[in-house]
Amino acid sequence: MDPSSNSGAPVVETRDLVKIYRMGDVEVQALGGVSLTIQGGEFAAVMGASGSGKSTFMNLVGCLDKPTRGSYLLNGQDVGGLSRDQLARVRGRQIGFVFQGFNLLPRTNALENVELPMLYQGIAARDRHQRAAEALERVGLGDRLHHTPAQLSGGQQQRVAIARALVNRPTLLLADEPTGNLDSRTSVEVMGIFQELNEQGLTVLLVTHEADIADHAKRIVVFKDGLLLEDRPVTRRRLSREELVEEARA
């Protein structure tokens, strides 16, 4: 089993998480007190209307931002009191991000993009190359190591981003609308990679507003106006592998 898996123990544990944005005199409450626990090995999809606080929640869980109130334990560690630099360390070691807009460095090849997170963990150049190449192979891009983002399709770019998210062997993979810029077939392929990684033990938390995408997860949480509205298991789970076979047959 992959060393990054820790099924059973809670990976994410938030209690009454509140986030209030202040813009001058106006206060916007993006999160109104969210308590959510995600166990190791889970695959959860966060759904909800635009503006319901999904991204705000992901940013807090991803240690990119600090909550106004409430507590957050990541792998049992309270990250509430950590400094900016300590949060950066947590991000680099325990969390992998996948964004809607890929967020790859332009004019930089796939290998170098994937090496980026290791640069900040003091990993030697030779190990960086090897691990980056392995991660790219894992997402099916072993033959595109030296392509720059401009030379890759959207789906391939997102795979590079996934490889980058995996390369430091995180315990939690966060993806905010990872299929938002992709066509439906490519979306299914990307979801297939997430499912594969989750089967290997990685905990995945995904934001999407599309029901068919969310059905690839094992659990769905729905946000509304900054509050948790619904939390249910996926009853008829879609498996990317089968969908692709079906499509090929049709």
């Binding site: 630099d85 950066a88 360390r89 991000r91 460095l105 900040y120 003091g122 980058r164 430091n168």
Partner: protein, 409 residues
């Protein structure tokens, strides 16, 4: 992030925007190039002055009329007539153990004519001892002797430049009659060519004539006043003895009391060298301040480009922070970029400066001297300028909020 990795990252970032990187370092290139070239030229000139002073002979002394006041201002030097041929003869006769040779010098400018050629040059009235004191040799002919001096004979020895001007086509110069300020003179010798001095002065543009010929016939006076005496001591060690003995002999001859200011000055080589050094030091300080200002301008150029670069790469900074870069990693990255810019600019400037000084040396026969310590110091200064220039932009980059940076378009 370790040093090698950040260097590589910096180089990669700078390569991605070659034109901007070039423009950013242009100021530093020019600053370092200017410093290296000017210092090379300055030091070359200084070395040549020193060499020339040394070639005058370390045993040289100059005696000029006039007194030195306490603060070193000569009172009426030149106007006074308190050095004469009698003094010279006395030194020559009495101080034979310390003094090897002594020559009087009275100068005047004069128009010289041969056929339809004419030229304005400097005429030095002196004796044959002058050649010995200066260590000059004749390319042709013979020097004048005591008889010619005593008789104010109409003879002359020409420098190479004067020969070239008056006799452009002729090979045969000795025995020709030229006119010096309407005085017809026979050419009895030609000086060996010496070339330019470090001041750019043509040392061959000169005529030597017997002292009395210049004073009696060209200047037209019966005065015995000598405007300068050039003395060479028997050896470098004998210089101090010579200076002391000449001082006491002249004081005695001029009837000066123990406490009276001397009415003449004796300058030795060390003093002349110090004066020259002082001049070159002033020039060095001037060059240094120009260099500093241009380095500051170069640093501002780098700071400017780095600020633009940080704004443009906000998203990149957000990505780096999201994958684990700490504030100090980002700070270090941009600082490294600024230092690399400044150092590469410094190296290019160094090559440029060295090239310019080489070219000056060959094209204008101007002495230049590339000094490794100065080049190293300039490079260090350029690197330091990079640190200073890069610090504020890098600090700004390191303080960006990762979420906002990621959202930046």
């Amino acid at each position: 992030m370790n040093l090698l990795a950040s260097l590589r990252t910096a180089l990669r970032a700078l390569r991605k925007n070659k034109l901007r990187s070039l423009l950013a370092m242009l100021g530093i290139v020019i600053a370092v190039g200017a410093v290296v070239a000017t210092v090379a030229i300055g030091q070359g000139a200084q070395a040549k002055v020193a060499a020339q002073m040394a070639s005058l002979g370390s045993n040289l002394l100059m005696i000029v009329p006039g007194s030195i006041a306490a603060h070193g201002v000569a009172t009426g030097a030149g106007a006074t007539q308190n050095l004469n041929r009698e003094d010279l003869t006395a030194i020559e006769r009495e101080l034979t153990t310390s003094v090897a040779a002594i020559a009087p010098i009275n100068r005047t400018g004069a128009q010289v004519v041969y056929g339809d050629q004419n030229w304005f040059t400097q005429v030095q009235g002196t004796t044959a001892a002058y050649l010995q004191v200066r260590g000059w040799a004749l390319a042709q002919g013979e020097p004048f002797g005591r008889e010619e001096d005593a008789a104010a004979a109409k003879v002359c020895i020409l420098g190479k430049t004067v020969v070239d001007k008056l006799f452009p086509d002729e090979e045969h110069v000795l025995g020709e009659q030229i006119r010096v300020k309407h005085v017809p003179c026979k050419v009895i010798g030609v000086l060996a060519a010496k070339g330019q001095s470090s001041w750019g002065q043509d040392q061959d543009d000169v005529i030597l004539m017997p002292w009395s010929t210049v004073v009696r016939r060209l200047v037209g006076t019966q005065s015995d006043a000598v405007s300068t005496m050039m003395v060479s001591a028997r050896s470098p060690e004998a210089v101090d003895d010579a200076q002391r003995e000449i001082t006491s002999l002249l004081r005695q001859r001029h009837h000066l009391s123990e406490t009276a200011e001397p009415d003449f000055q004796i300058r030795n080589l060390a003093e002349m060298q110090n004066a020259a050094k002082e001049n070159t030091n002033t020039i060095a300080i001037l060059l240094g301040s120009v260099a500093l200002i241009s380095l500051i301008v170069g640093a501002i150029g780098i700071a400017n480009v780095m600020l633009v670069s940080v704004t443009e790469r906000t998203r990149e900074i957000g990505i780096r922070m999201a994958v684990g870069a700490r504030g100090r990693d980002v700070l270090f990255q941009f600082l490294t970029e600024a230092v690399v810019l400044a150092s590469v600019g410094g190296v290019i400037g160094l090559l440029l400066g060295a090239g310019i000084s080489r070219w000056m040396a060959s094209r204008f026969d101007w002495p230049t001297l590339l000094s490794p310590p100065v080049m190293a110091a300039t490079m260090l200064l350029a690197g330091f300028a990079g640190v200073v220039a890069g610090f504020y932009p890098a600090l700004r980059a390191s303080r960006l909020d990762p979420i906002e940076a990621l959202r930046f378009e």
